[in-house]
Symmetry: C2
């Protein structure tokens, strides 16, 4: 038996000293976000696991990490030596760390956690499901700050204005729209904890978090004033004076809880229990009416306005040009110079950086060669980056943050001649992608109703993929954005009705462990289609622009209408991108986009 690493040993000493039987650490921050500044990446520091979603439980004899299936391979590679084990649920059993606690802890134990980074929904679930065990909860227990001596400080970037030409709607109007909805819901206050909600409403951005242009802050929208909890030093004077005109009052970030406790008891507050920490929730004036629902800006920002949609169309051309230049460069240089997964990532960034208004990648580029691509969220490291050889499958999932929009696109290409299984797999994934892209459906349809369109061709052949099919995408904001979602499950959110103006990813895939992975991903915008006596129908318009590798297509598996879709898409790709390409790039793209 190996001895536990130092960090775990010291954490256990702290547990023993305080009489704690189990300590819970989530991967989130006080905003319950997927996008977390380094200061809050406790699990990464403690276990070495770098995935974006996990929970850790530590007892005197156990140290386990729960994550979702996207990250199983990665966790199995990163955890050894950390003292932590990966806990996988059994098939179709949605067991989680609470089930483990429930099954493993004795009655009358003490469970501890830091309620600043656990949502009130999670804490309720925890307390409810352990209610029969008579557990004590130490809810304000931060054992990390003391142990983590070289912890990165809280981020301190400075906000910048997101101009009207990009965002399309004045902050004053947005705040008024939020207040109108608050009136309809009969609430006096609305607590905003999700940073992207705040950025959207105030038309500001920051640089506090890698890949997402966020400024760490909370907001309370009142009927007259808007309280912005962000340290004064983070708001430049010009913005601050405009905020002043709009009755946006700045207060220190740390005072959010204190302010919540001074709200008048007779008033009512709207909060989202999934993104509000138990700590903040419990700070709210006792006896006040609390309405729990999805936050209003989350709903409003999911539907892109006309300016945003026009900008998205333009940004897709820029992103497509960067990708096309990259793939041309790759074709020209592969076999001549050594290219590995990391240098692909660098080169792609180089091409995107040439585009106007480009700010940075919208997430860590996944450039995964061969078996690495079997990890849906493969994360490359310097010492493990594969060199691209003369044969195999290369999957590149990348995106950019531009002032005029956020992109997210995946292309899978063949190096050398692909096997017939690879071609079949690729073509079945493509069929799914096309089927969802061409969907026509009545207003009121929810994402989980459409998911099978992307899977059916795979299922028919006994194949499948373990992640969702489509996520919402922010506008110069988080690359993953709710509430919209196209997936197999309806449990996560019943508010997944698809509306005109929503932006979705469409990304079916297949992963063969130890062999290769294939994913094709485009973004689509929802529009109105015809209205009939049976109601208003909707459709998608695919907006991402980049050729799809025809050498991986088994044409015999496509029907005429699918071939028609692909040929039309390719003609659009050529038409829109070629004006921005050199003659040789143009010639190369013409071949890549010739009709099938």
């Amino acid at each position: 038996m190996s001895t536990a690493p130092d960090k775990l040993v010291r954490l256990r000493e702290a547990l023993e000293e305080k009489g704690i039987h189990a300590y819970i650490i989530p991967s989130t921050d006080p905003h319950l976000s997927e996008y977390v500044p380094d200061h809050w990446r406790i699990i990464n520091w403690l276990t070495g696991f770098t995935g974006s979603s996990a929970t850790v439980v530590i007892t005197d004899s156990f140290a386990g990490l729960w994550t979702d299936s996207r990250y199983f391979i990665q966790a199995e590679m990163q955890l050894p030596g950390s003292g932590f084990e990966l806990v996988k649920p059994k098939a179709f059993q949605n067991t989680d760390f609470i089930d483990w606690l429930s099954g493993s802890l004795e009655n009358e134990c003490t469970i501890a956690f830091d309620d600043r980074i656990l949502s009130i929904n999670q804490v309720r679930k925890l307390q409810k499901r352990l209610s029969s065990k008579n557990i004590s909860f130490d809810t304000e227990c931060d054992l990390i700050s003391e142990l983590w001596t070289d912890r990165p400080p809280m981020p301190d970037s400075v906000a910048f204005d997101h101009p009207l030409e990009f965002c399309g709607k004045d902050r004053m109007i947005k705040i008024a729209e939020v207040r109108e909805k608050m009136k309809e819901m009969k609430v006096n206050y609305h607590l905003l904890t999700s940073i992207d909600d705040i950025m959207w409403m105030l038309n500001i951005r920051g640089n506090d978090i890698k890949y997402s242009p966020l400024l760490t802050s909370f907001v309370i929208v009142g009927e007259e004033q808007t309280l912005l909890f962000a340290d004064e030093s983070k708001i430049p004077l010009k913005l601050a004076s405009e905020f002043d005109t709009l009755k946006i009052v700045m207060l220190p970030y740390e005072e959010t809880a204190a302010m919540l406790s001074t709200l008048p008891k007779k008033a009512s507050t709207l909060i989202n229990p999934s993104s509000t920490s138990a700590g903040l929730f419990n700070a709210i004036t006792k006896g006040m009416r609390i309405v729990e629902d999805i936050s209003i800006p989350t709903i409003l920002k999911a539907v892109k306005n006309k300016t945003e949609i026009a900008n998205i169309s333009r940004v897709m051309v820029k992103d497509g040009v960067a990708l096309t230049k990259f793939f041309y460069w790759f074709d020209e240089n592969h076999g001549k110079t050594e290219i590995n997964e990391l240098s692909i990532s660098d080169k792609l960034l180089e091409f995107r950086s040439e585009q106007k208004n480009f700010i940075g990648p919208s997430f860590e580029t996944i450039a995964a060669y061969g078996e690495h691509a079997a990890q849906p969220h493969y994360s490359v490291a310097k010492d493990t980056a594969s060199i691209i050889r003369e044969k195999g499958i290369l999957l590149i999932d990348s995106g950019g943050q531009y002032l005029d929009g956020t992109t997210d696109i995946t292309r899978t290409i063949a190096i050398g001649v692909p096997s017939s299984q690879q071609k079949r797999d690729f073509t079945l994934v493509l069929k799914g992608m096309i089927s969802l892209a061409r969907a026509k459906f009545p207003l009121g349809t929810k994402g989980y109703q459409l998911d099978i369109l992307a899977r059916k061709a795979l299922w028919d052949h006994g194949l499948n993929y373990g992640h969702g099919t489509g996520h919402g995408v922010g506008f110069f904001l988080n690359v993953h954005e709710g509430p919209q979602n196209i997936g197999t499950s309806a449990i996560a959110d019943n508010k997944s009705i698809i509306e005109p103006g929503m932006l979705f990813s469409n990304e079916p895939a297949i992963y063969r462990e130890g062999e290769y992975g294939i994913r094709t991903e485009n973004l689509m915008i929802c529009y109105e289609d015809e209205e009939t006596e049976f109601g208003q129908f909707l459709k998608f318009d695919t907006v991402s622009l980049c050729h799809i590798d025809k050498t991986l297509i088994d044409k015999s598996l496509l029907d005429e209408s699918e071939i028609g879709w692909l040929n039309f898409y390719h003609s659009e790709v050529y038409e829109k991108l070629s004006p921005f390409l050199s003659d040789s790039e143009k010639q190369w793209l013409r071949e890549k986009t010739e009709p099938l």
Copy 2:
């Protein structure tokens, strides 16, 4: 302004006398069932509306009825003169009577209802959503018994044994299986309120309710004893003595609540909050641990055992023979003798009655001609029964209760030459039915994921239908049975995972108000398909046997695989049914089932 009818006037007098501002009446009984004895059909008595699902609210100035879209046309026809108006929700707004109460009542009103026939879930919802209005609730308010002088008595049929050769599993074993699950869930008692759960577990049936072989009763399963609340006179001696051996103790039906209040406080009880009345729920010993979940027999009986499945296959042959004989008779006699919607129903019953072990129809036969078929649940009356003319669409939805299974099948046929729109509509519905019938999907798939398969062809043409696609079917029990369900919504039940052994209907449709309706419905059983590295896959096997009217098919809309499915299905129909047909019937069926 017309004066309110007498019943409503007297009800309002009672409201005023008791100081009640709003009175709520549901369409259910103390078992919260869709299948209700006449004694509890209060809404029918009060308003004339005969649909199976509705809620009524009465105030001094308003009398409204809420029902689902299946029954809108019917309610609009039946309500005039009753003093009640149909309240339709706006599109995509799931507004219900609670929203109406919330929007219409003053603060500090009194709302009354009879808590014996409202589920605890409904009452909680009601109280929660009206919480800001400071409403008083009079929960034990029965205003009906006094007013309804000729009310039918409580049903008094006598139970009969459902033999092992049909049901396939001994009642002793079933009870043991329920107890095993109770142990897993750590509960000492399990209250059963759904009568079909009780019938299944005890292998008994009764005749208390039209169309469903039910015996009004409650059950409390304990760790040693099973308490059956049904009046002694309803259990024949032979059954009673067997029950005695199995520690099944009989108690009067009316004593259920009293017994619940004597359960030991330290024990725990499992109840289903959707099918347990608020009255019974509130009777349970205070302070006792109550576990709320779907009831165990509901889950167990949804998966048919091998004997049941073998019986279902045989019963489908009998039912198919009866239908074929009927359709042959119709073809021979239509144009010679007058046939109307009611005589169709009678004739169909005649043919089913010739089959072995036939007990009765499993629901009121829907024989709907022309525009009548645009009502999904058309209910015929003597004075409105249409005569079948020389042209038009005839929809027949019918089913049988047999000792060896329950059937439910819809066929739509053309009288004369159908229009091209009728053929297109019929073929699109057929495409949907075939697509769902041929589905292959991984274990763990939920009904709402598959629903689109039945709709896609319709949606592609801007068409749709307003009801679910598939319901579970009982085994010589209710024709609608949960928890499985194939529909657009996931809100009703998250426990809709499709499992091998489950029996489903598959019934896409289209309704053109004022013109015609088309529906094609088969039953299917779920089986295991191949297991791959991506998991276990499942499939359906269509078990209903009756030809599909080829004169309504537009072949140009079907692809080869769909034609192949239909031809194979028709060859099976002929092969399995022809041994039981006369020579002329056989010849007729051969033509009907010839390859397309």
